[in-house]
Symmetry: C2
Amino acid sequence: MKASVFFTVNEVDGAVLQGHTAIVIDVLRATSTIVAALAAGAHAIFPVVSTEEAIKLANSLGRADTLLAGERKGLKIEGFDLGNSPREFTPEAVLGKQVVMSTTNGTRALLAAAPADRVLVASFLNLSAVAEASAGAERLAVVCAGQEGRFAIDDALCAGMLLGRLEERLGSELEVDEAGRVLLTLAGAYGVDPELLHESASGHALAAIGLAEDVDWCARVDVETLVPELRDRMIRRVDDGGA
Amino acid sequence: MKASVFFTVNEVDGAVLQGHTAIVIDVLRATSTIVAALAAGAHAIFPVVSTEEAIKLANSLGRADTLLAGERKGLKIEGFDLGNSPREFTPEAVLGKQVVMSTTNGTRALLAAAPADRVLVASFLNLSAVAEASAGAERLAVVCAGQEGRFAIDDALCAGMLLGRLEERLGSELEVDEAGRVLLTLAGAYGVDPELLHESASGHALAAIGLAEDVDWCARVDVETLVPELRDRMIRRVDDGGA
């Protein structure tokens, strides 16, 4: 396997992703929230960029079974059903529903990765499951969402740990690019470290709006075994028609 | 001091650099070559993006005292006096001359950094000298050239070692951003490692055109004490009217 890492959405060139399995990571919080939503029984997530697009799509899907979720500056979008805190996505809230979701960085990263042959969604929560699901790919592109075009250490650490899991499986068959090599070093130095996440720009931003608990929630490793896959603009579990 | 790191030119937003001292790094090879050229007695370097611009500027400066230098795909531009190998910039070749230089990544990075309050030029060759010259800055922006818009480990390692030098001087007064934190970890794990540079994409590209010796040449640490500074589109030594 050849694995490349993109530190931010802005680096991603859709044409380059053809022939690749892409793995999208936005630890704080979009991809963690997607894992939480599917684990709680939501049957699909539709990532969209704008608020207007979200409302339009929710209306066309039928509002009875559709929830609107998303954030701007970390807070729930006015008039939406849910924000972007994974702790909101309980079975009571989302079981059997579909969710139209718009977040600042994560949904952009998902849509930027869409030209890849497959697009999987990773977080600390389902790290090993994604490593297992992607281990057979010949070419892997790990797409970190980053924060507003800048490198985000939370996504980078998760990407590094994912590569570490793949290295354990594949040994010298895993060839990483230079960015990947740096992230393997980072993951080796820190492992999963909730303090590092709290100290990150995203962690500080969440603390400032009273959502520091989300950080600890998203720092839990391998608490879920599901793998979300984006296909035809819809994210579902791989074992639920996604593959 | 607050220090930010940009992994590639593409991340750099000129407006953000105002109020900053910027340090530009393109280890393989543009910033190493600039250090070599000034050390060999060239009195100024003019970085320009295009071949046409280089020729036009050299003509207006007067060809008698001006050399044309630069590369495309690593090789000397046809009709130019010098390529981009620092080993070409001997006193015999450049003493008392000014050099108009155009390279693929390095000159773009220098010009992208130009809106900063000061722009210094770093490489392994003059690492400690640049750390000393920049230690008093309140805001530092380390701009890695990268390779064609992607992360380059050679520049990243040099940036990490530079931050390490600053950390030794400034202790807890040095605040690094998330990218900087990762590079400090990288530098701590590897130190200067010619093997890592040979294995990089830039190192492979140089080996492929018979210039692997340039890599070892550029991997030497602190062999020069001069600090090049870009001012008014011209790079000179800080102690030679640059500061």
